[in-house]
């Protein structure tokens, strides 16, 4: 049995089918590094993903992996967490998956606040279906389904996350793996629902939001002197001012209880490991109500 783990332990023999240069490679590597540096054992971790190029990530990391249906990674991840609260549960997917079809689950996951880390690979495009605009595509952006330019306004993930009153909010960029690893580590350690939204360029279908685009437009909060990630108003202001184009730890509130700790009668032993046999006394007592 391995006791010390390395990045290698989180690698398997599957060659990702992402296009060369896709931002998702860095996200995968960052998750692997973060898990190793936190000393997690591979079997103690589960990655739950949705459908999209990004959704393939659960197949590429040597942990338990569940690749569900489009937009529903978060409900599945929450179910898993409830069944086994000892697991490190990471949900992951694309901007379409998480902020398009799956946005309702995101909003409600935030307020439910289970101890889960959600990593979004936000490339401002639908990759797997070949280049339609996504909810994070800017107004005016041209795409297969917006040949004359997108006429909807973009969702700004950081802004809606704050609007939904999230407890942990960070953003990373595929080109800055060191920062990303650190953010993912913090997110996993955070006891509650944590979002790490990653600007992860699609080199095939998005010719606007490229590596260069992000490099030029992102404000790295790690480098902003005196930025206080514990102030919600400051976070909101920063996000509005940067139009969401900022990286680093944006907001963190350490004074919350997660969902699991508030469930009445919920036990420390994971449900999956409990004896399911009902105590006959409890049963007898229960039946009395119907006598």
């Amino acid at each position: 049995m391995t006791t010390t783990v390395t990045v290698k332990d989180f690698r398997n023999d599957v060659r990702p089918n992402w296009c060369p240069g896709c931002g998702d490679f860095s996200v995968q590597a960052s998750i692997q590094r973060a898990l190793a540096s936190l000393g997690k054992q591979p079997h103690e971790v589960a990655v739950i993903s949705g459908i999209g190029c990004s959704g393939r990530i659960s197949g590429y990391i040597n942990t338990y992996g569940f690749h569900g249906v489009h937009g529903r990674a978060l409900p599945a991840a929450q179910g898993l967490k409830l069944a086994n609260r000892d697991l490190t549960v990471i949900a992951a997917g694309g901007d379409g998956d998480g902020f398009g079809i799956g946005l309702n689950h995101f909003m409600h996951s935030v307020r439910r606040n289970m101890d889960i880390t959600y990593i979004v690979m936000d490339n401002h495009i639908y990759g797997l279906t070949k280049g339609q605009h996504s909810p994070t595509s800017a107004h005016g952006f041209t795409a297969k389904t917006a040949p004359a330019g997108n006429i909807e306004n973009a969702v700004v993930p950081a802004q809606i996350a704050l609007g939904a009153d999230i407890g942990f909010l960070a953003q990373g960029f595929s080109s800055d793996v060191n920062q990303l690893v650190s953010l993912i580590e913090q997110a996993i350690q955070y006891k509650g629902f944590a979002l790490v939204n990653v600007f992860s360029p699609c080199v095939t279908y998005n010719k606007v939001n490229t590596y260069d685009f992000f490099r030029e437009n992102i404000v790295n909060l790690d480098k902003v002197d005196g930025y206080d990630p514990t102030s919600r108003m400051e976070a909101m202001k920063t996000v509005i001012e940067t139009q969401g184009l900022c990286t680093g730890l944006i907001y963190r509130d350490d004074h919350r209880q997660d969902y699991e700790d508030q469930i009445p009668g919920y036990q420390t032993t994971p449900i999956a490991q409990q004896d399911l046999q009902l105590n006959p006394e409890i049963f007898a007592e229960t039946l009395k109500e119907f006598a």
């Binding site: 459908i51 569900g68 069944a83 009445p264």
Partner: protein, 577 residues
């Protein structure tokens, strides 16, 4: 002396109709009678006519009567709407307050229900007064109700108990004095056996609890909400959790996540929610995740008749997902079956590693009835094929290839490893996959995997797929399901009285459809009548669909939102001879 009796209370929704009916029913159940109560209500909160019909008998009937003996009316509306059903010389007890009038064929007792209640302390006790009045009419000892009142109010102090007891007594005496204690309405006394009194939804919840379900994500909907509302109170005792999700899509995907995680997990919904779950049910089938879904059917389509009886989700439950998955669909008929079906559903889900849908109908889910005590020992928890940590440690090298979650086996069933288990790491995906759960589009793999999944249930007929009662070589076999069990049974009895031999075949399993068993159980009948609460004859079509043949099959359908009455089935079948 009566062997059975039908009593009904009616009034405006929110006016105490439900609690009056409930107290009446519970009290008689306690005395050892068999009780069946059926509530009619509207999809609104206050106002609108509502009534609760209670049948009391010395032997068990699982449905309401065709007529009413005693009608308790809280408003004139109730008399106008319901007195037609009261038998000739039947009794109507009405609140004097609204100057009730009643048709000629009944005997009306205008009782100052409200005034007496006010004199006893509060107008809300009019239900107690009316129960006392009912006791007098039915020749029941007054203790039948005072005991229940005592128990119910003793926490509120002796004064409240006394007021309520007094209200019952005054109602009782009023009728006695008014000459309403007609011996022809007196109920034979029961043997005092203790049984339970509950609705199907209670039994489903208890069944899930006993079967080891510990995670229930669900979204409220009539008539399923009781299941989650009950368990949310009980789960803290056993470490379980109910999550009220944002919608049914979340509920189903969360159920799958929890089941994948090793919990016994389920959800409960009704038609519109089932529709929303379709995509995720397909995921459960594809990933071979055991998940149990209760669908308490109500009047469809769309929002339809949300508080009315129907059995019209058979097709949706059986055929609704896109693509092809293994699936099991059960349809219990009584609270007892509801209870044990949940144990069965979880075992089947774990054994066959596929979604299991438990259908009920509104009548079964919401009608409270006398129920035999449940035996916990009969609920065996069998988790199916699990790769335990011990097995994995023994059989698998430390650094080998991934665990083959979808190992091709003879039976199509492969061991599961729960996340968190060392040595069990594997992938799960809704994309077509190889034995270790990785996406794989190869033609051969595809065929193998489709065969694996669909093979699991091929040719299987589950034990107890149907129950047949009644005559051999009958002139008619009546095929039914769900809450119609009672009306069919009673129709068969009456047919026999008419000299027509009859059998009752009640279907319990819809998928895998018990082709052989059903074929055999209908073979000796001259005619077959399929009785169902829907407009298109779904069960009738299922027979053809799966190739169950019989030369003389007719359908008897009802889709107006009301439950079948025994008399309707009786007449329909009799008319065929």
């Amino acid at each position: 002396m009566l062997e059975q009796l039908s009593w009904k209370v009616g009034g405006q929704q929110g006016e105490g109709v439900e609690s009056t009916g409930e107290t009446f029913a519970v009290a008689l159940n306690r005395r050892g009678y068999y009780v069946y109560s059926f509530r009619q209500f509207s999809s609104r909160i206050k106002g609108g006519h509502s009534n609760d019909k209670v049948r009391v008998s010395l032997k068990q009937y699982r449905t309401s009567t065709d007529y009413t003996d005693v009608l308790l009316a809280f408003d004139q509306d109730t008399i106008d709407l319901e007195a037609g059903e009261v038998r000739t010389n039947g009794i109507v007890i009405a609140d004097e307050k609204f100057n009730p009038t009643a048709p000629d064929h009944v005997r009306l007792f205008a009782v100052p229900l409200t005034s007496i209640a006010e004199e006893c302390g509060s107008a809300i006790m009019k239900n107690m007064v009316s129960l006392g009045a009912s006791a007098a009419v039915l020749g029941l000892p007054i203790e039948t109700f005072t005991e229940v009142a005592e128990e119910r109010f003793h926490r509120k102090g002796q004064k409240v108990v006394d007021q309520n007891t007094e209200a019952i007594r005054r109602g009782y005496e009023f009728i006695k004095e008014a000459g309403g204690a007609d011996p022809s309405f007196a109920l034979k006394s029961a043997d005092g056996t203790h049984r339970l009194f509950m609705m199907g939804n209670d039994a489903l919840a208890l069944g899930a609890l006993a079967a080891g379900a510990r995670v229930m994500p669900a979204y409220p909907i009539t008539p399923a909400s009781d299941v989650m509302e009950y368990l949310i109170k009980k789960f803290p005792k056993v470490g379980g959790v109910v999550v009220q999700t944002e919608d049914e899509i979340a509920a189903m995907n969360m159920t799958i996540g929890a089941a994948y995680g090793g919990a016994r997990a389920f959800t409960a919904t009704s038609g519109p929610g089932l529709a929303l779950m379709m995509e995720a049910i397909g995921l459960a089938g594809m990933t071979e995740t055991p998940a149990v879904i209760i669908d308490t059917q109500r009047g469809g389509p769309s929002t339809g008749l949300p508080t009315k009886q129907e059995q019209s989700d058979l097709f949706a439950g059986m055929f609704g997902t896109h693509g092809e998955i293994p699936k099991i669909v059960l349809f219990p008929a009584t609270p007892e079956e509801c209870f044990y079906s949940m144990g069965e559903a979880f075992n089947l889900a774990d054994h066959y590693q596929c979604p299991v849908i438990v259908l009920t109908d509104l009548q079964l889910s919401l009608s409270k009835q006398t129920t035999e005590p449940f035996e916990l020992e009969k609920v065996i928890i069998d988790r199916g094929s699990i790769a335990t940590p011990d097995m994995l440690a023994k059989e698998r090298p430390d650094h080998g290839e991934e665990f083959k979650r979808y190992l091709l086996t003879e039976t199509g069933i492969s061991p599961r490893a729960f996340p968190g288990t060392q040595g069990g790491i594997h992938k799960v995906t809704g994309v077509e996959h190889s034995e270790n759960g990785r996406p794989n589009e190869a033609v051969l793999n595809r065929t193998n995997m489709m065969d694996k999944r669909l093979h699991k249930l091929e040719g299987v007929e589950l034990a107890g797929s149907l129950v047949r009662t009644g005559d051999n070589n009958p002139q008619v076999a009546i095929l039914g399901m769900g809450a119609n069990i009672g009306a069919i049974d009673e129709a068969c009895e009456r047919l026999r009285e008419d000299g027509i031999t009859a059998a009752h075949v009640h279907l319990h399993t819809l998928l895998p459809f018990p082709v052989q068993t059903l074929q055999q159980s209908l073979a000796d009948a001259e005619r077959v009548v399929v009785v169902e609460n829907n407009a298109t004859g779904q069960l009738r079509h299922l027979m053809s669909h799966f190739g169950v043949e019989h030369p003389q099959v007719s359908s008897f359908l009802k889709y107006d939102g009301s439950a079948f009455l025994p008399i309707e089935i009786h007449h329909f079948v009799k008319g065929m001879f």
